[in-house]
């Protein structure tokens, strides 16, 4: 059985396709309801509690969230569940107290940086707009790649692709000539290992279909041979870095899929443009699918604005809830998985660190406190989610949105993490998969963690229902992208371009600029996000890019609302202080995986922004008559 084959069938592709077509059609149809910039950017401020809660959860429950939660759940076990608990606590606190969010809604804002102009000055608003958009767009840079990993492994595109030959006459001539020669070469090696019938077919030029089929069968059979590589025969061939890395590990220690990958790379290196680079072709297919999805989201977001975002997010909330629920059901109902098996597998192989988040081998206190700060800051200032505080019809609805949405904050991280724990249990029962995901044993570091959860779902959910599940997760991909596109484009339009122009922008101009900004962000994602190589530490990348905006903005927002002496100078200093997070993005991967170090840096950055804010506010207070003086709390 192919280790990476899944139950995904043509029926499932049809279900996914139909769902995507309906999403786009809705987005296009609602375009006729857009009359003003408030309709376009905030859905006319007409969303009730239930609708707002559904879209609030839909935005937060993105495919990238599901992927990074599953990656951490796979390697850290139940300890990761501390993050969903923090999310739940933050949602309940804000929803029950209305802290900051109620006042934000009362001000009838379209974007968060607008508040900074009302409370401080225009320069604070523009600075905030630039940093907010920069951090947000950088943050979503990895979304398409994460989506591609999910699609690859849930649909079975990650399974081994058969080798194929492009230039039969050239291939046979080279192989026959080298086979007869005495000099060591990859061609001679290949000729040696071919079975008798395939060798005869090659010598005759593989002119007919039956001969070609015999050669292809032999070539694909060679993929699983552990001893195919010989240093002497491949000495003159320049091997790709991936093959070199696999050879360093030693072919005898590799898992079966890794041996296949190594032999595939060896053949492709020895026969460039003759033996088809199937891995590249497969990656191209996935990248094209993700590009097409982004284009679909762009289409309906550009046309329908927030109204289309609300409608599609609502629909996506339903599909996603059903899809993930199905995934959970199939995990818990399987006799070889189930709750007791999951707990038992983690207990046996990963020990106490898989359950205790503050264990010495798990996250630790510092990281947990940093995350608590980060979640609270994100709920208030991370524009796509904070915007939900502005789209509701009144301040009471805003509070209820956060309160009723809080179980969603738990589930959006806990459910994928639980599916990943089930994937761990599944992997632990399969020797080949264990070798692929845990080369140093089940107690060691997890490799390729992002592939585990989608692979599990692809294997345990039956065809037909798998289509619903994948459609739900595609929905998650789209619902996050549409909100993010609209949010950052609104910030660029209203908080950077509009304040810098001398003439006031009317509604039509603002909508036009927002649409152009959406297209530019989409173009950036297509180039950078789809075709960029995924780093190992996705969550840290996300947390750090988020910090660029969150560390400064949360201090400036809360300080502006609850501290009378807060000044524009203090606000500017704190916002710029958040940029201290940028160098962290470029730290080596092993340092970024050190949760203690990352937690310390994260907390110090928040503290640094507070110190800057207080010091500059006291040292350089606003003059009397300035906006800051007139709108003091």
């Amino acid at each position: 059985m192919d280790t990476f084959a899944t139950n995904f069938s043509m029926l499932d592709w049809w279900i996914v396709g139909a769902y995507l077509a309906i999403s786009v059609a809705i987005g296009v149809v609602v375009n006729k309801y857009i009359h003003s910039v408030s309709d376009y950017m905030l859905g006319g401020r007409g969303a009730g509690t239930a609708l707002n809660a559904a879209t609030f959860i839909g935005t937060g429950l993105g495919l990238v969230t599901i992927m990074y939660a599953s990656m951490d759940g796979f390697s850290k076990g139940f300890a990761f569940m501390i993050l969903p608990l923090i999310g739940l606590a933050v949602g309940l606190t804000l929803g029950s107290t209305g802290f900051v969010i109620r006042r934000l809604r009362e001000q009838r804002l379209v974007t968060l940086p607008e508040y900074f102009q009302r409370r401080y000055s225009r320069s604070v608003r523009v600075t905030a707009g630039i940093i907010c958009a920069l951090a947000g767009i950088l943050n979503m840079g990895l979304f398409p790649k994460m989506g591609a990993v999910f699609v690859t492994y849930s649909t079975g595109l990650g399974r081994s692709q058969p080798i194929s030959v492009q230039d039969w006459p050239g291939f046979c001539a080279k192989l026959t000539e080298a086979g007869a020669a005495g000099t060591p070469s990859p061609h001679k090696r290949l000729f040696e290992v071919l079975p008798e019938d395939a060798r005869a077919a090659v010598e005759q030029g593989a002119g007919d279909e039956s001969q070609r089929a015999a050669v292809l069968k032999a070539l694909n059979g060679i993929l699983s041979q552990r001893d195919f590589y010989s240093k002497r025969d491949f000495a003159a061939v320049t091997l790709p870095a991936e093959a070199e890395d696999l050879l360093k590990l030693g072919p005898e220690k590799l898992s079966e899929p890794s041996v296949e990958q190594l032999n595939r790379l060896l053949l492709e290196a020895a026969y460039p443009r003759v033996i088809v680079e199937s891995a590249w072709r497969q990656e191209l297919t996935v990248n094209l699918i993700m590009s097409a999805l982004i284009l679909l989201v762009l289409l309906y977001t550009v046309l329908g604005g927030m109204v289309s975002v609300i409608v599609t997010d609502y629909m996506q909330f339903i599909v996603l809830s059903i899809g993930l629920g199905l995934g959970l059901y199939f995990c818990l109902a399987r006799p070889d998985l189930g709750w007791d098996h999951m707990v038992g597998a983690l207990k046996q192989h990963r020990g106490a660190a898989a359950f205790n988040p503050v264990h010495a081998n798990s996250y630790g206190w510092v990281w947990v406190i940093w995350m608590a700060m980060h979640f609270a800051a994100a709920a208030l200032c991370w524009a796509p989610e904070a915007t939900r505080a502005l789209t509701s019809k009144d301040p009471a609805t805003t509070k209820r949105t956060f309160l009723f949405g809080s179980p969603g904050q738990f589930v959006r991280l806990a459910l994928p993490a639980l599916l990943a724990i089930a994937a761990f249990c599944f992997v632990a029962q399969n020797r080949e998969l264990t070798a692929h995901f845990f080369p140093n044993g089940l107690g060691g570091k997890a490799e390729n963690a992002g592939q585990a959860m989608p692979l599990l779902l692809g294997k345990i959910v039956p065809a037909g229902l798998l289509g619903v599940l994948v459609a739900g997760l595609m929905a998650a991909f789209m619902s996050t992208h549409d909100s993010y596109f609209l949010c950052w484009s609104s910030v660029i339009t209203r908080d950077i371009i509009a304040p810098l122009r001398r003439e006031r922008l009317n509604d039509r101009q603002q909508i036009r600029i927002a649409r152009i900004a959406i297209l530019c962000i989409g173009a950036f994602l297509l180039v950078w996000g789809v075709w960029y190589k995924l780093p190992d530490s996705v969550w840290n990348y996300m947390a750090v890019t988020g910090s660029v905006w969150l560390c400064g903005s949360v201090v400036v927002l809360v300080g502006g609302m609850y501290w009378k002496r807060a000044s524009s100078a203090g606000a500017l200093a704190a916002l710029l202080g958040g940029l201290m997070s940028i160098p962290v993005i470029f730290l080596p991967e092993d340092l970024k995986n050190d949760t203690l170090l990352m937690g310390q840096i994260g907390l110090e950055n928040y503290a640094f922004c507070v110190v800057l804010f207080v010091f500059f506010s006291l040292r350089y207070p606003d003059r009397k008559g300035s906006p800051a003086q007139e709108t003091r709390p």
Partner: protein, 55 residues
């Protein structure tokens, strides 16, 4: 470790149950909200839009 296992068992049960209860409530009420939203937009949407524009 057993204390943590019990804790996560309870947390997951309560959390997932609360979420799916929420789904049962939010789906029908959300559909009603959606109808109201379209009526609101058809009637002209947020009329204070111009007043709220960036200065």
């Amino acid at each position: 470790m057993n204390g943590w296992i019990t804790f996560w068992t309870i947390a997951c049960t309560v959390g997932f149950a609360a979420f799916y209860l929420l789904v049962l409530v939010v789906v029908p009420l959300g559909a009603l909200d959606l109808v109201k939203l379209f009526k609101h937009l058809k009637a002209g949407g947020d009329r204070d839009s111009e007043a709220d524009e960036a200065r």
